[in-house]
């Protein structure tokens, strides 16, 4: 199987994996409570019913494999905003900017957490958007729905430029200084998804962030394809800026490329044009690779032709 056919399914699978991981972390909170309060399936059933007992015993089986639940929770947890997986911390660059601007305190784990996201952006570009971001999964679905709807309806295709997302980053930082870091949970789509999942599963309440997700999804559906990812999301803009000269990117074999064809730019969710060799913001999602009629596109080292 060629790499061209693998990338797009892979990106969907990894994003689904991230969503499942977030759900698992949120459910771990529920499980920890039952573990420390009852530590006995029969007592759990007496307190909360049969279905919770099934959940408890199933999670027990998982933790037989993973180890002591308290220790697992100490080294795994969090949300898309700041997460620990196997003891390795990951920090969102926007969170670091926000805390730095507001003059909050730092820990070494927080600073070291920047290492992996930033170096990933330097090497692969904006891969976070296509392989990690749980919100972009929803927006990609909207992108496909829009494709179907465009057969019957004339949908607007609003175009902004890169300044808007930079403005959201600056304005959001200002709003965070003024009103608290919580405003990011309404501005950043992936943070909103994390909040909604966490509120819903761990605490059983509806989060205000759900409204923000619905707003962005409608924006995507009715104002332009992948509107949020292209023009609004400040994290995507920041990662795109960091990875604008990334080592790995989409390459084009100019000899095989068909002059009249513009398929790659039309299917691209990120508004990138491999046709013009403009691959800033490329998230390596592989949509253009699958659609290219002449197979002239490949993923590889930027310098080599």
């Amino acid at each position: 199987m060629k790499a061209t056919n693998v990338l797009l399914p892979l990106s969907i699978v990894t994003r689904l994996g991230v969503v499942l991981l977030l759900c698992f972390f949120a459910m771990m909170t529920e499980y920890l409570n039952y573990k420390t309060a009852y530590n006995n399936p029969r007592l759990v059933e007496l307190a909360s019913g049969k279905s919770v007992r099934v959940f408890y015993e199933a999670t027990d089986a998982i933790f037989d494999f993973l180890g002591d639940p308290i220790e697992v929770a100490q080294s795994n947890g969090g949300m898309t905003w700041s997460i620990r997986v196997l003891g390795v911390p990951f920090t969102d660059p926007v969170a670091a900017i926000s805390v730095f601007a507001k003059g909050g305190s730092w820990t070494w784990g927080f600073v070291l957490g920047l290492a992996v996201p930033v170096s990933l952006a330097l090497i692969f570009g904006r891969v976070f958007c296509a392989y990690v971001c749980p919100a972009s999964l929803a927006f990609y679905t909207m992108f496909r729905i829009r494709h179907v709807l465009e057969k019957w309806f004339l949908l607007p295709d609003l175009k902004l430029n890169r300044g808007f997302a930079w403005g959201v980053l600056i304005g959001g930082t200002g709003a965070a200084i003024w009103a608290g870091h919580g405003v990011w949970s309404l501005i950043l789509p992936y943070f909103a998804v994390g909040q909604t999942l966490f509120h819903g599963i761990a605490m059983g309440t509806l989060s205000i962030s759900l409204g923000s997700i619905v707003f962005f999804a409608l924006l995507d559906l009715f104002f332009g394809p992948q509107f949020t990812c292209r023009y609004v999301c400040p994290t995507g803009r920041l990662l795109g800026f960091i990875g604008r000269r990334s080592l790995v990117s989409v390459r084009r074999d100019a000899n095989r490329c068909i002059d009249q064809c513009n398929t790659c730019a039309e299917v691209c969710p990120m508004n990138v044009s491999p046709k013009l060799d403009q691959t800033v913001d490329c998230s390596l999602c592989g949509a253009c690779l699958t659609m290219c009629p002449s197979n002239c596109l490949s993923v590889g080292n930027r310098g080599e032709k």
Partner: protein, 211 residues
């Protein structure tokens, strides 16, 4: 059609226009705070080891890792009920579920909004979540019916709380750490003892001195 994808250069003026547009759009978000709110008067506690007052809000990014690790499930996240400045920050409602001072949340906080503490007596004494305030006119023990439940729930018995005749509790504010276990355990409805933030307690003290 062709020109629309060929011309990908943006002029400086349109870039700056979009920049300002984005900044203004992001600044509209805090205005939801101006919408009518249900209640701002309900008090909540912060998790143990929290930095005092605004320093906590400066540092806390709302990543929910403390909520995730809490084995007692006492920490929950704010929605909009505490205003936009408290959005997504952790809170403890002591009457519903009080903190058992296991200090798991202080170990995982990535930004240091919660200072690292150990689940020992020394670690407990370093906690400053608030002060317990007793309403003697409500308390069973002060009405002649011995109860003493709050004393038995206190993690620092004899220091933060002592009992006298008929198990009448007495709170010592200089040693009370405000975990809220007494408030959770109180058998009277509404509770005779409740935890208030230390700043509010100092205000009350000043007012009492004036009168």
């Amino acid at each position: 059609m062709k020109n629309s994808w060929i011309s990908r250069k943006t002029s400086r003026s349109s870039f700056i226009k979009s920049l300002i547009g984005g900044a203004v759009a992001a600044f509209l978000i805090p205005l939801i705070d101006k919408l009518p709110a249900k209640s701002r008067f309900r008090r909540f506690l912060r998790p143990p080891g929290a930095l005092p007052g605004d320093a906590f809000l400066d540092a806390c990014i709302g990543c929910a890792q403390c909520v995730n690790v809490c084995p007692n499930k006492c920490i929950t996240l704010y929605g909009l009920e505490g205003g936009i400045e408290n959005l997504a920050t952790p809170k403890i409602s002591a009457r519903a579920q009080a903190c058992i001072l296991c200090m798991a949340c202080t170990q995982v906080c990535p930004t240091g909004a919660l200072e690292k503490l150990e689940p020992t007596k020394e670690g407990m004494r370093a906690v400053n979540m608030g002060v317990a305030v007793l309403s003697e006119d409500v308390c069973y023990s002060y009405a002649g019916r011995t109860c003493g439940v709050c004393y038995r729930a206190c993690p620092l018995p004899g220091e933060a709380m002592t009992i006298g005749l008929f198990e009448q509790p007495m709170v010592h504010p200089e040693y009370c750490i405000g975990c809220g276990l007494c408030e959770q355990s109180c058998v009277h409805m509404p509770q005779a003892i409740r935890v208030i933030p230390r700043s509010e307690w100092e205000d009350r003290l000043a007012r009492a001195r004036l009168s």
